[in-house]
Subunit: 482 residues, 2 copies
C-alpha cells in the first residue's frame, strides 16, 4: 500500500469520495452486478443530492479502476468482477482512501480472526479472568429453574423478567425514570447499532461520528450509504461549538457516540458537556446514540452518569452491553430510550431475528443477579489496571505518545511518522502479534500513525512478551533520510 | 374492518398499491418524518420505475388518508402522526389492502404474543415433546467440555466444528458436494431471510413469492421495499410455465420458496419439478431461496431431496433451521450455497451481529451429535401424526376444506365465505383461542376465507378442546340472507 496522504478535507473532495464509496459498496454487495447499467449521472446526482460533476468524477474513477465501462450513447455499466488477487493488486495502485472501504469492509473482524499468540486487536476480557467454573455451575441451574427453556422463544422485545431486572438496575444506579417497555434486548451492541442505522439512515444521509471511533460502526453506517461527518474527540471531550455548527449545517438525524472510556481512545466526555450535548440534540432534532459498552470498567472511580440521564425529550438512545464483562459470549445488550425510538426498533428486531434467544437471556440474568458479580467486577478492575501498567512500562522508552485512560480495554498510541503502520502490522502478524491500525477507526481514513492496542485479552506474561516484540519490530523502522 | 374484496389484480393497481405501501412503510419506519418534504413525483417515479401517474395517485391517497399534505407550489409533505387510536379508526375506514401492511407490519408476531390457552398460531413444537431433562443434562456437559465458552465469541461465519458436523450430515443425507466454507450459521431462519433480502432487494425490485407463504418473510421483503410477485402453490407444486413467464417478464433476482411441507399449506413440491425449477433459475438468473425449515418433520415417508441437490451453478441458497425440532430456543439455522452467495452473506452477518453466540452453537452441536436424536425424531413424528388426526376428527363435520398434509405443523383451512375470519379471530381471542388469519400469508392480501391452524404446539387434550371451541364460535356465523 502507498502511504500518500489523503487528498484532504475539502467538501467537494469529501462528497466525491463518499459518492465513489457509495457506488463501490453497492457493487460489492452485489446490488449492482456485472453488466448492469449504472444510474444516469443526473439521476444519481439527484438521489445522492450532490452535483452532477461529483457523480461524473466518481464514474470516471470507476472506469479508471476498471470497475465500470462505458457504452457509446448508452451510459456506464458495471465491469465483471476481477479475482480477489487482481483486486488486491489494483488496491496497491490506487489511492487507499478510495479503495480501502471496499477491501476492508469488515476490517476489524478480519484482523481479529487471524490466529496469533499476542492478540492485541481484541477489546474483550481475557476469558481466563471470568469466573468460568462458578459461571458454568451457576448457569446449569438455569435449566433446572426453566426446564423447557430449550423449547421456548423470547418475545421480540426481550424476556420480561430480564428487562424488569435491568430496569431496576438502571433506576438504582443512574436514578433514571425508565419502565420495562423502554428496554429492548439485542444480540450484542453491534446488532443495536445495525438496527438503528436501518431505521434512521438512508443513502447519503449525514451521520455524525466521533473521530476516531469504533470501526465496525463506521462499516455499518457505510453499508447503509451514510455520509460520515466527523466530530473530533479529545481528552476533554468535544468542541461543542463545532458540534453545534455541524448540526446546523448538516442537519444529521443521528450522532453515534461512545462518550465513556471511548473506543479506541479511552477518553471520557466530562459531565459538564453531557447536559449541553443533550440540549443540542433537542434543539437540532438529532438523535444521540450513546454506546456505553463498558461503563463499569473504570480503574479509579466511576465515570460520569450516562447522557441518557439528562434526556427528558427522547433524544438519546442508550446501548449498554451488559454481558461484556460478565459473560461476553452470551451477547446480551440492552437498548433504552423513549417510545418513539424503541417501538420502531422492536419491529426492526422482530423482522431481523424475531428476538434474542431466551436461553441466553435467562443464563445472563441468573448470573447477573448473583451476589458474586460485584466481587468479580472488583477483581477485573484490578487485573485490568495491572495489565495497563505492564504495557505502559514496556512502552515508556519508545517515545510513542498516549493519554493514559481511566478505564476500558485499550491504549490509543501515536507512533512516529516514520513508522509505516500498515507494514508494521503485516510484519507483526508474521510474528504472531496483532493490533488495530488506527486508520480503520477514522471516518476520514487519515490517521495513519495511530494504533489501538488492547491490553484486556492476553495474560500478563504474554502481554509483556508481545509488547516487547511489537516495540522490537517497530524499532526496525528508522527516520527516513531527508 | 370492512370485508370488501380487494380491487383486484390489474398490473396498474398492483403497482399503485405497492408504491403506496412503499411510501407508508418509509413513514412508519420514521425515515420520512412529520413535515419532511416528500420526493417529487418525477423523482420517485424514476426511483420506483413506475409511471408518474402511479405516484400521483399514491400521493393523492396519502392526502386523502391524511398521511400527507400539500404546500402550494412546493409539493407534498408528511403529515404529523396521529395517535395510535386515530390510526386504527382510519384503518376502519380505508380499504384494508392499502393500510394492512402498515398496521400489521409484524402481524404474525403480534398475534402469537397474545397469551391464550389454545395457542394454534405457533408453528412450533410443543416444549413438552422435547426431551427436556435429557437435553438439559446433556447441555450442561458442554460447559465442562468448553470451560471458557461464556467468554468466547464465534467467528461471524459460525463455529467451525458445528459447520463441519453439519456439512458431513448434509453430505451423508443428501449426497451433496459441500464444504465447510459453503455454510453460514444464522440466529434462526428468519435472520437468514433478512440478511439475504438486505443484499439482494432494492426498493421496487420484483421478488417472486409463493401464494400463500410465510407472512414474516413477506414483511421482511416489504420492509426492503420489494414488489411482491405471487406464484400460486398447489398440492401439485407450481405451474412451471407460469413461473417461467413471471421470470421472463419481471426478471426477479430472487424467488423465496418453501417447497417442503410448505408453510402455511403443508404442500410439498414434487421431485420432478425441483430439477426443472433449478434449470429455470439458471436460465433466468434468479436466485432460489429454498427455506427448508422442517425437512425431518414428515409423517409417513421422507420428502424429496432439497432443490439444492440439483444445483450445480450456485442458483440455490438453502436455509435449514436445524434446531427447530430439537431445541428451537437455541435458534440455529444453517445457510448453504455457492461462494458468490455465502461470501456477501458472511459480511452482512458480521455487520449485523458479528456472529451467532458460540454458546448456542456448541450446545446445539453437542445434542445434535447424540445418538438419542433419531429416537426423538421418531417419537415426534408419531406425536404430530396423532395431533393432526385429532384436529381432522374434530373438523370432520364442519364442511371446511383442507388437504391433509404429509408433514409439518399446520392445517390450511378454507372456511365458508360467510364466516368473516377477522371477526372470528377477534371472538376466538376473547375465548383464548388463536390462529393465523390466511390473509397475512397472502402477498395480495385477498385470501380472506383461509386460516392456518398449527397443531404442533398444544397438547392433545387442549387441542381437542380448543378446536371444539373454535368450531363452536365459527358456527355462530350463518350464511347471510340474500
Amino acid at each position: 500500500m502507498k502511504h500518500a496522504k489523503s487528498s484532504g478535507g475539502t467538501k467537494a473532495n469529501l462528497l466525491f469520495r463518499q459518492a465513489y464509496e457509495y457506488i463501490v459498496t453497492r457493487m460489492d454487495r452485489g446490488e449492482w452486478q456485472a453488466h448492469d447499467k449504472l444510474p444516469s449521472i443526473r439521476l444519481l446526482a439527484q438521489e445522492l443530492q450532490v452535483h452532477r460533476l461529483t457523480v461524473f468524477r466518481a464514474y470516471q474513477l470507476l472506469k479508471q479502476n476498471e470497475r465500470a465501462y462505458v457504452k457509446e450513447k448508452s451510459g456506464y455499466y458495471v465491469s465483471p468482477c476481477k479475482s480477489e488477487e487482481q483486486a488486491l493488486n489494483e488496491h496497491e495502485e490506487s489511492p487507499r482512501s478510495l479503495t480501502a472501504s471496499s477491501v476492508l469492509k469488515n476490517a476489524l473482524s478480519e484482523i481479529q480472526q487471524i490466529p496469533v499468540k499476542y492478540q492485541f486487536s481484541q477489546a474483550l476480557i481475557d476469558p481466563n479472568l471470568l469466573p468460568n467454573l462458578f459461571l458454568s455451575e451457576h448457569v446449569k441451574q438455569v435449566f433446572d429453574i426453566y426446564p423447557k427453556l430449550m423449547g421456548t422463544y423470547s418475545s421480540a422485545q426481550g424476556d420480561e423478567e430480564l428487562r424488569e431486572y435491568l430496569c431496576r438496575y438502571m433506576v438504582r444506579h443512574h436514578h433514571l425514570r425508565l419502565t420495562v417497555s423502554d428496554i429492548l434486548i439485542t444480540t450484542g451492541g453491534q446488532q443495536a447499532i445495525d438496527l438503528i442505522s436501518r431505521i434512521y439512515i438512508r443513502p447519503m444521509d449525514p451521520v455524525l461520528v466521533e473521530r476516531p471511533t469504533y470501526s465496525a460502526a463506521l462499516d455499518i453506517f457505510r453499508q447503509q450509504g451514510a455520509r460520515l461527518v466527523p466530530v473530533e474527540i479529545t481528552p476533554n471531550g468535544y468542541d461543542l461549538a463545532a458540534v453545534e455548527k455541524l448540526m446546523q449545517k448538516h442537519k444529521p438525524r443521528i450522532f453515534y457516540m461512545n462518550p465513556t472510556f471511548h473506543n479506541p481512545t479511552g477518553y471520557t466526555v466530562p459531565a459538564a458537556q453531557r447536559k449541553l450535548l443533550v440540549e443540542l440534540a433537542e434543539r437540532y432534532r438529532c438523535l444521540l446514540i450513546e454506546d456505553d459498552a463498558i461503563h463499569e470498567m473504570y480503574l479509579d472511580q466511576p465515570p460520569p452518569q450516562p447522557m441518557l440521564t439528562y434526556d427528558t425529550e427522547g433524544w438519546v438512545v442508550y446501548l449498554r452491553s451488559f454481558s461484556k464483562y460478565v459473560a461476553p459470549g452470551l451477547r446480551i445488550c440492552a437498548v433504552m430510550g423513549g417510545p418513539s425510538v424503541i417501538k420502531p426498533l422492536i419491529t426492526a428486531k422482530s423482522l431481523a431475528d424475531n428476538g434474542t434467544p431466551l436461553v441466553n437471556q435467562k443464563m445472563f440474568l441468573h448470573y447477573f443477579e448473583s451476589a458474586r458479580i460485584q466481587q468479580h467486577l472488583e477483581k477485573l478492575r484490578i487485573a485490568l489496571q495491572i495489565r495497563k501498567e505492564i504495557v505502559e512500562e514496556e512502552l515508556a522508552s519508545t517515545g510513542w505518545h498516549w493519554i493514559s485512560p481511566q478505564g476500558g480495554f485499550n491504549l490509543w498510541l501515536r507512533l512516529p511518522d516514520f513508522i509505516p503502520v500498515d507494514r508494521l502490522l503485516e510484519e507483526c502478524l508474521r510474528h504472531s502479534v496483532s493490533f488495530v491500525p488506527g486508520v480503520i477507526c477514522d471516518p476520514l481514513k487519515e490517521m495513519q500513525s495511530w494504533i489501538r492496542l488492547s491490553y484486556s485479552f492476553v495474560n500478563e506474561e504474554h502481554l509483556r512478551d508481545g509488547v516487547r516484540r511489537l516495540v522490537d519490530i517497530a524499532g526496525r523502522y528508522g527516520p527516513q533520510p531527508q
